[in-house]
């Protein structure tokens, strides 16, 4: 068995059909396997039991308020980028019970549900989402308090990452320094070549899983080929800032980039900039951006009680800083206007997040742009505040 054990950080060459044995191998180890699936015309995370369930041969086209899937002859197994889902919903579920209380003879017995999550293996995680995962780890695990539910689900997570071979127009991981190449935080990372996958082993668990799969050691050429895919994409994305002029004249979606120079002070020095009111004229305060954001963590807790009132659950559900209730106190709502809520969201994401967690809250995945019904684009808003209308 151990003959076949690959060291951490090694690169292995695996035939494309072997992806199925990877799924099967994870099943044998007790993992439920999740991967990209097409549901209602978009790629979301769903149960993945067969490699044929993957959206092989599809690419996505994304722009402000737009998302389209199309078949493409050149597309491989993972040539779409990110859809509305992220790892967030698996680790920080949209609804979860925090506390159960039962009243017996006037006394409350309270218990936190014992978190014994099913081990989960997620396929197709991109570099931006791995960075988002690290950011949510800081929120839920990195402070003086640890969220026990998040912690137990996090420990039971197995990540099969994928190196992107193309970027959507809404992607700007190159600006946020979160991609496109995956650099860590995964158990296995796949790079698709013409006839096989190059698999990078990222953890002991990843190495264990690979013992069940047929692989050969990569040649230096294979490793170079895999790396050059990420490098080519990154170089391509980096030219975006210089191509703004040609971009403006073309019919194609604007390829995003974000100038992050001194962005913390830029935003906090402009808390009274007129742009906040201008964007509020378009913003519907619908909360879509916060729901699709892989790092947004706001939640609220509600009471779920039976008719007797003796059996009560406290349920945590995703919330958003775009609602009036979010900042509500008995003296009224603190953030009364859409302008103040958009300002809260953007300044938190790109500036005060750094004060709180030592990292930006944005990973450049572009979901908030794509899934905004009116196509509000944070890269455009920051550029406007910077006074750079290009």
């Amino acid at each position: 068995m151990f003959v076949n054990k690959a060291p951490i950080k090694s690169y292995l060459s695996v035939g494309k059909s072997q992806l199925q044995s990877l799924i099967d191998g994870l099943h044998k180890l007790g993992y439920q396997t999740i991967g990209p699936r097409i549901v209602d015309g978009a790629i979301v995370y769903g149960e993945l039991n067969a490699i044929s369930d993957l959206p092989v041969g599809y690419v996505d086209w994304q722009d402000g308020g737009k998302y389209r899937l199309e078949p493409s002859d050149e597309a491989g197994h993972f040539d779409y980028v990110v859809g509305p889902d992220s790892l967030k919903k698996f680790l920080f579920p949209a609804r979860e019970t925090l506390l159960q209380s039962i009243r017996v003879d006037g006394t409350w017995n309270m218990a936190t549900p014992d978190p014994a999550p099913h081990p989960l293996a997620v396929f197709g995680v991109r570099s931006c989402d791995l960075h988002a995962l690290a950011i949510q780890d800081k929120v839920f695990l990195g402070g003086p308090y640890v969220d026990p539910g998040y912690q137990s689900r996090r420990n039971a997570l197995f990540v099969v990452a994928v190196n992107c071979r193309r970027a959507a127009a809404t992607c700007f991981c190159h600006s946020m320094k979160t991609g496109p190449a995956v650099e860590g935080g995964f158990d296995l990372a796949l790079t698709e070549l013409a006839d096989r996958f190059v698999v990078q082993v990222g953890s002991t668990r990843g190495a264990e899983v690979m013992t069940n799969i047929e692989w050969t050691a990569c040649t230096l050429q294979d490793i170079d080929d895999a790396r050059s895919i990420s490098k080519t994409l990154r170089d391509q994305m980096r030219t975006r800032a210089h191509n703004a002029e040609t971009q403006r004249e073309s019919e194609l979606p604007r390829e995003r980039h974000l100038d992050t120079t001194d962005i913390h002070d830029l935003l906090l020095d402009n808390l009274e900039h007129p742009r906040w009111s201008q964007v509020a004229n378009r913003c519907l305060a619908c909360a879509n951006c916060t729901i699709v954001c892989p790092t947004c963590f706001c939640s609220s807790v509600s009471e779920v009680s039976d008719l007797s009132g003796d059996n009560v659950r406290r349920e945590r559900a995703w919330d958003s800083c775009f609602t009036a209730e979010h900042s509500y106190m008995n003296t009224g709502t603190v953030r009364k206007t859409t302008a103040s809520r958009y300002r809260q969201w953007l300044t938190h994401k790109l500036a005060t997040w750094t004060d709180q967690f030592g990292t930006s809250g944005c990973v450049g995945c572009g979901r908030c742009i794509t899934w905004c019904p009116v196509g509000i684009d944070l890269t455009e808003e920051v550029a406007a505040i910077r006074g750079d209308e290009s």
Binding site: D147, E303, Q344
Partner: protein
């Protein structure tokens, strides 16, 4: 460090602890003080709080409310909370009787710098229910009176009938606390000051270089307290304010109580003025 902060990282921060209401004292219209005793003797004996911290009081079926602790931090037998009826949870609390049970999570948040201010003159400027979070600091000062210089309580409420803890004022004065009280609207028998709290600064002769100010009340009041203190050359780093936001989880997870870079629940509620200076004047932040 507080009890919860000292616990290992595998503790259950969402667990609320059952507590019995052992006394209810109506204070002023709509406000009562609830004395609580934690049911689990282990939890009760380990529980410690510092002046200015708050608990999440939980009424199953109604929800939680962030309420500052208003008892003496040196007393370990009972926890007092002075609560104004304001929303669902506090309304349900107002219907409880002595002997009923609620639940407690906490303590949470930062505290008044009673140790850092030793040797200083202290001005405690508060409005309305804002005296409740400062009362543990007052108790601490009374217990360690020799550690402090002049101690002045500037307290204001809407009417004389809205003044909290008036029965204790004489005991405070006996220990050389200067208690100056003002109301917005007087009654025929009111012989004290009329006007807002910041105005009470006008007659103080402070030694600003050795004075610290702690303030809790409506934000507009605190803004003017800070203004008056700075105008009298009190150092900005010696001014502290306790802020209120929608504190819901107490741990910085839920995001509701953010103000600029801060989670008011864990970075506050007590802030040094220097921390909040850039944001204090902004509307809707």
């Amino acid at each position: 460090m507080t009890m919860l902060l000292d616990q290992p990282k595998n503790c259950q921060p969402w667990t609320a602890h059952s507590a019995r209401i052992v006394d209810i004292r109506p204070e002023v219209p709509g406000v009562a003080t609830y004395d609580l005793v934690l049911d689990d003797p282990q939890v009760a004996s380990a529980y410690r709080f510092r002046p200015g911290q708050f608990n999440m009081l939980y009424l199953p079926g109604f929800g939680e409310s962030a309420i500052s602790i208003s008892s003496d931090p040196a007393r370990h037998d009972v926890l007092s909370h002075t609560v104004r009826v304001a929303g669902n949870v506090t309304q349900a609390l107002a219907k409880q009787k002595v002997g009923d049970r609620i639940a407690v999570r906490g303590p949470f948040g930062s505290d008044w710098p009673v140790n850092a201010c030793r040797g200083h003159d202290i001005v405690l400027a508060c409005g309305g229910i804002g005296l409740a979070p400062l009362r543990p600091a007052i108790y601490h000062i009374l217990n360690h009176r020799e550690d402090y210089g002049r101690v002045i309580v500037l307290y204001g409420a809407r009417t004389p009938g809205d003044l909290l803890y008036t029965a204790e004022f004489s005991a405070w004065r006996e220990k050389k606390l200067e208690v100056e009280v003002s109301v917005d609207v007087g009654t025929p028998d009111w012989k004290g000051h009329i006007g807002v709290v910041p105005v009470l600064f006008y007659r103080l002769r402070l030694q600003p270089e050795r004075t610290s100010v702690m303030s809790c009340g409506p934000e507009i009041m605190m803004r003017f307290v800070v203004f008056e203190a700075l105008a009298r050359k009190v150092r900005p780093e010696n001014i502290y304010v306790s802020l209120e936001r929608n504190m819901s989880c107490g741990m910085g997870f839920c995001g509701h109580c953010q103000m600029g870079p801060y989670f008011v629940c864990k970075d506050g509620p007590v802030f040094n003025f220097r921390q909040v200076e850039p944001y204090f004047h902004l509307e809707d932040l």
